[in-house]
Structure formats: C-alpha cells, structure tokens
Point group: C2
Chain length 306, copies 2
Amino acid sequence: MPQLSLGNQNSLVSINGNLTPPEEAMVSIFDRGFLYGDSVYEVTLTYEGIPFLLDEHLERLWHSAAGIAMTPTWSKDEIKKFISEGLEAFSKLSDAKRQYIRVIITRGGGEIGLDPSLSNGQNLFIIFRPLPEPIKEYYEKGVDLVVTEVIRTPKKAMDPNVKSGNYLNNVMAIKQAREKGAYDAVMLNDKGFVTESTTANIWIVLGETIITPPIEAGLLGGLTRRTLLQIGMDKGLKIKEQNFSPETLTSASEVFITSSTREVLPVTRINGELIGSGSPGPITKKLHQLYKEFRDQYIKTAQSKL
Amino acid sequence: MPQLSLGNQNSLVSINGNLTPPEEAMVSIFDRGFLYGDSVYEVTLTYEGIPFLLDEHLERLWHSAAGIAMTPTWSKDEIKKFISEGLEAFSKLSDAKRQYIRVIITRGGGEIGLDPSLSNGQNLFIIFRPLPEPIKEYYEKGVDLVVTEVIRTPKKAMDPNVKSGNYLNNVMAIKQAREKGAYDAVMLNDKGFVTESTTANIWIVLGETIITPPIEAGLLGGLTRRTLLQIGMDKGLKIKEQNFSPETLTSASEVFITSSTREVLPVTRINGELIGSGSPGPITKKLHQLYKEFRDQYIKTAQSKL
C-alpha cells in the first residue's frame, strides 16, 4: 500500500478497493468516464462517523447504473467494505468531524468508440474528504437563486434522474447564476416548468401546502427530497409533488432547496425579488427541524447496531 | 522524457506537451473532465502524414470551448507544434500509414464543485494512434441505421454543436442501434426532425436534390459536412440544408452519412427497410469521388508548402 496522506486535495481515494493518496488518484485517459462522462456517482456524508442513508445511496447508484445500461461489477457489500476501510484510514489522517464520500463507477477503458460493449471492465473510485461546516448565514438569511435560460436536459435525451458523469448542463447553468451573483440556478424543463437547481431539489410553500415538482418533470429524485415527502406525510402535513411555473415559484410565500449536503436550505430571493417577507419562513424551519430529528434518530439507531 | 512505446493501447499521448506512453497517460480523478465531462475535443486524421483540415479542426475546438465558456490556455500554434512532435515520435514507433489524432482540453482540477471558476488550470491531452483501414464492404454494400427513441440533446440544454466530454446521449443511442444489429443510430430532435447519427452527419437524396439537416436542428456541424456543402455549391449541384422527418428519410432514393474518419459512407437500410435499390446510389458515389479529389488537392497543396 502506498504511504497514505491527504495531500493538497485534503482527500483519500479508494481505487478499485485500494487506498491511495490524492496525488496518485489517477485514471487512464482511455477510460470512458474521462472520454464520454460514461460513469455514475453518488455523494453521501457522515454524521458521527456513520454514512447517512448509505443503503439508499447505493440503491440509487444501482438505479443510475441501470439508467445507462450498466451493472456494477462490485456488490453493494463490497462497496460498503471499501467505504468502511476508507473512513477508518481517513480518520487516522484527519480530525474532521464529518466526512464527504463520493462513489464513482466508470464503464472503464478499452478500444476508443462510443459503443459501450467496447469496455473491458469498470473502475471504482471512492473519494473521502472533510465535509465543510454548513455556512450559518445561508440558513439564517436564506440564499438567492436565478432562473436560467439553460433548460434541464429532457428525460428522452438523458434522464436527469441518472446521476452520471455528464454534468455540463448543470455546469453551464450554475455559471450563469454565479455571474449574476446568485447562489445557484433554477432550471426549467422544455415545457417551461420548474425542475430543480443544479445540485438540489426545489420546494415552494403555497398557503399551507408544500410542493415540489414530480420526478416526471425531469429531475434527480433526491434522497433528502424523498425523506422530506415521507416525513411530511407521516406528520399529516399538506405536502405533494406537482408541476409549477417560474411565476408560481416567485410568488410563493416560502421557497427552499434540499440536498444531502445542505439538508433544508431557505431561499429568500429569486431573480432579485424577495420571496415572502425576505426571511426564511416558518414552514421551511419546521421542516428542517423535522428532518434533523429523523436524521438523529437514524444515526442513533445505526449506532445501536454497531 | 519517459521511454516511449505504444503499449497495449497502440497509442502515444501528449500531456500538456509532454509525450507519454499510453499506460502512463493518466489524469487526476479530481479533473473536471473526469468528474463532469467538462472538456472539449476534436478528432482529425492524416493523409500521407499530414493532418487533414487541421486549422479548421482547431477552429472548431475553439468554437466548442467558447460554447462551454472556456478559453484554451494554449495557442493554436502551440497545439500544432505538439501534434507535429507527436506525429514524429509516433512514426518512429509505428509503421501505420495513417494516424488518428484526438485533441482533448479539460477545464482541469481544483476544489470539487460544479462552478467552473473553481478550476485551477486546464489540461491538454493529444492521443496519436494508427487509423484503421476503411472497411471496404461498408462502402460497397452500404450500412444500416435505426431511428432510436433517444432524442438528441436540445440546443437549449447543451448545444450538440459543442464537441464536449458529455457523450452519454450518443452512447445510449448507439447502444440501442447495436442491440438491433445496426451500424449506427439516427437521432431525432425534440420536434421529431432528423438531426444526425451518433458520430456522423446524415444526408438524403430526393430526386436530384441533396439535403442535410441545418445546424439549428441541433447537431454537430461536421467539417466533412461543411466541405461537401461547399463542393456541391461549387459544382452547381442542388444541395441544401433543410429539416426532414424520419418518414422522408426512409423514403429517400439515397442516404449517406459523413464524418472525418468515414468520409462519405452509403446507407442502404434504415429500420430494416431498403433505401432505394438497396445498393449505394450514384449521387453518393459521385459526392465521395468529389470529396476525395478535394482532399487529395488539399494534401498536395500542404505538401508543396512543406
């Protein structure tokens, strides 16, 4: 095993199960993941050292792989073992409280050509790095979004519910947003309905009803999104999946986005216009609280099984 | 300089101007080209050692880069110098008559995140490999295509006229075609019009008129396509860009596809149905002949300038 260190990427990488410092974490330029973005990935993170919703993330990784007609060579248990080995080695090199884990499977190398049957075997990369602390100001004041002209890739071209190595669509959208000084972009679909931000699901509050676009709108079915829908239904809240227009979005009393890394993040400005009072709303805060309770319970249960 | 050899990829690679055997041609997994397909590329090939239409290919590489808001760090002249050095080294290791050259520029590495401003510098890769001989049977009998359900990514999501590292759309289309035993796929746009095949432009002959879809349909403006349009106009042929449906495609008297590697390749079967007589048509053959004359003249002129 090479001498492990976190290097200037402050990361550790597992390549096909072998731990490697980040400077040596390389992939052949003949790998289809590099040539065509022919890969799938997941990001999860730890709370108290425990990867949150790991089974669900691996389930979705398999779903993404199926979406590009790929069957992972490794079993979920093997990947869990690599993650557990990586986290152990990482904890000896870093005192970070929480860890970011990115799992990438590429269709591998072979003769150059688009046909996936040219592949001679997949490659698996797992990146471990410290998870930065959440930025308090974002949660206290909310973030601002802009609706971009870049539409989300339609399902019939490449399903956005596949988390793949093709992310230029989102890269171009966030670039537009950042140039306007915004935190992130809102992407519409080809029918003009809201889908998601570049790396998070989006929600609005209309009256007492909490709404997020359906997966059929063309978006990634986030695990935080799914968890929140379940919590909302369990608690008897008015919560549902429904298409809405950018006009409905900007006239909502509350807007928030959800993702694994950001949990429930209030949005208080869209296209420069204030949402509601311009401060994070009570329903957003309430949902974040419920999410935290669910999360703490999950971790507690996982710890009791160790 | 490492000991050069063509290895099991039968290639030589120039990485940021440094020649490397293919086994050592690696890229960091933190490179955006790997994580997001955040890269652009071109493929050109040589005739008698001279890269065909190299200026035009580099011009299009710059066009692709602009399409993802990237300005190449290297000048076109620097890239030409690397190509020339690579071809010289390659010729000492291989007796291949003709060479395939793939130029890839990625937005490089940096902190993980979609925002392209996180990049800390681009990376340039040039692959040199032997160009396989054209398969005679394809030209004598024609190839078969199938119209796939996978639509070409719309311009408003990610312009297909940008040759980027996001190719899953085409990978999925060619997979469908190959599973049906076909040579390649025909991809429609979101309005149902024909765009292109997965790596070539498509043409039909209706009466005496030669037609290819306009770039606005959402396709890569191929250099062979452009050359053929120019030749056709110079020769006073009825040649034009116009949208057509898959029904028009299958009822055409001749169909062919064009690309740098295949020049003008006849299509004699689509969705299992014969096109025209089922043999390569006279106009297709005539155009290929005119293309070869143009190409030979280009090479002759280039040689006279050496």
